[in-house]
Symmetry: C2
Subunit: 193 residues, 2 copies
C-alpha cells in the first residue's frame, strides 16, 4: 500500500530534514496548502485538501467530552486529495512529488483515482495532476486528458520528464501564491494548449 | 465539541439499535452514502462524503508494510461533509439528523461551515443543508440562501419545523436512490422556488 500524504516513515522524515538543510524547502503538500489558503483569503477559489481516509477500530472515552482514537489504519483513498470550486467550476486534482530526475512512476496514482479523474473529466469538471520533480525543482500541471492519452499510447510504468516538458504546464514558483496553479487553470478555461 | 459523523458514543449506538428494532431504519449518513453510490453507478453524479478529519499524534510501525495509528483526535471540520460534481456544477452540502419533533438546533452546524457554505454560494456552487427530523420521518433540503435569510432575520438558536415545511424541499424516501436529493437540485437548477 502506498503511504498517504502527510504521514511519513521515519526514513522519509530524515530525508526531509536533509532536503531542508540544503534549502530545497517545503513539501509540495505544504505549499499547496498555503496556496489554497491564499486563494481563500483573496476570495478567489475554495479548494481544500481532503482529510486522510482512515478506518477507526478502537475509540476510548477517558472523560465525557474527550474522545481518543486508540487504533486506526490508513485506507486507500477512493478519490483525489484536493477538490473545490473556482469561478463556478468544479476543480479536482491529485498532487505528487517524485525524487526521480528522469520519470514519474504511474503507480503513484491509484487505479481508482485514475477512474475518478476520468469521471470528473467526462462530467465537465476540471481534473489534473500536479507533479513535482523535487530534485529538478520543476512542478508541472498535467491535464487528465494528456495523462490518459499517455496511458493509452503506452504500457510503460512511468512517464519520462520529457513528456512533462512537452505536454504539461510548468508552474513557476512564486511568493504569494506559492504554487499558482490557478493561473494555468485560467489558460485551460480560456482554451489554450 | 460536536461528535463527528460516523463515530458514535456507546449510548447513541444503543439508541440506533432501538430505532432499527422499531423499523425506523438506517441513519441519514448511511442512506446518503448508498444514494451517492447509486448516482455513481448510473454515471449521474460524483459526490462523496469527505473522510472525518483527525489529528494524528502517534503512529506505530509493527512491521515494514504495516502502520497503526495509536493516538489520534477528532478535529472540527472546516468545510462540509459532502461535495462533488453534478452536470458540470459544484455541489456542497452538510447533512444532519435531529431527534427533535419541533425544531433544528442551529449549533449543529459549525460557524466555519456556515462561512464555507456562504463562500460556495457566492462563487456559484450549489450549497444546501439536508436535515432529517428522524422522529417525524421527514427529510428536507434547505438551500443555503434560505438558511442565511433565516439566520439574518432572527437570533433564535433553532429553526422550527414549520420553517422547513414552508421554505425547504421535502425529499421523499425512495428505494433506489434512497434519498433522491438531486431531483430537488434539478428543480433548483431549473430555477423553481
Amino acid at each position: 500500500m502506498n503511504y498517504p500524504n502527510g504521514i511519513k516513515k521515519r526514513e522519509e522524515l530524515k530525508n526531509d530534514v536533509k532536503i531542508s538543510h540544503k534549502n530545497r524547502g517545503m513539501t509540495l503538500e505544504y505549499e499547496l496548502n498555503i496556496t489554497n489558503e491564499y486563494y481563500r483569503e483573496i476570495d478567489k477559489a475554495y479548494i481544500y485538501k481532503k482529510p486522510t481516509p482512515i478506518k477507526i477500530v478502537k475509540v476510548d472515552y477517558p472523560s465525557r467530552d474527550k474522545t481518543v482514537i486508540k487504533e486506526a489504519y490508513f485506507t486507500i483513498p477512493s478519490t483525489t486529495d484536493y477538490n473545490g470550486l473556482y469561478h463556478g467550476k468544479y476543480i479536482d486534482f491529485e498532487a505528487k512529488e517524485t525524487q526521480s530526475r528522469t520519470s514519474f512512476a504511474i503507480t503513484n496514482i491509484h487505479p481508482h483515482q485514475i477512474e475518478h479523474l476520468k469521471n470528473i473529466n467526462r462530467h465537465e469538471g476540471i481534473a489534473f495532476l500536479i507533479i513535482r520533480f523535487t530534485m529538478l525543482g520543476e512542478t508541472y500541471l498535467l491535464t487528465i486528458s494528456k495523462f490518459l492519452e499517455y496511458l493509452e499510447k503506452t504500457n510503460k510504468k512511468s512517464i519520462p520528464i520529457d513528456f512533462f516538458r512537452e505536454e504539461a504546464y510548468l508552474i513557476r514558483d512564486g511568493y504569494r501564491p506559492r504554487v499558482d496553479y490557478l493561473k494555468i487553470v485560467d489558460e485551460l478555461m480560456g482554451g489554450k494548449k
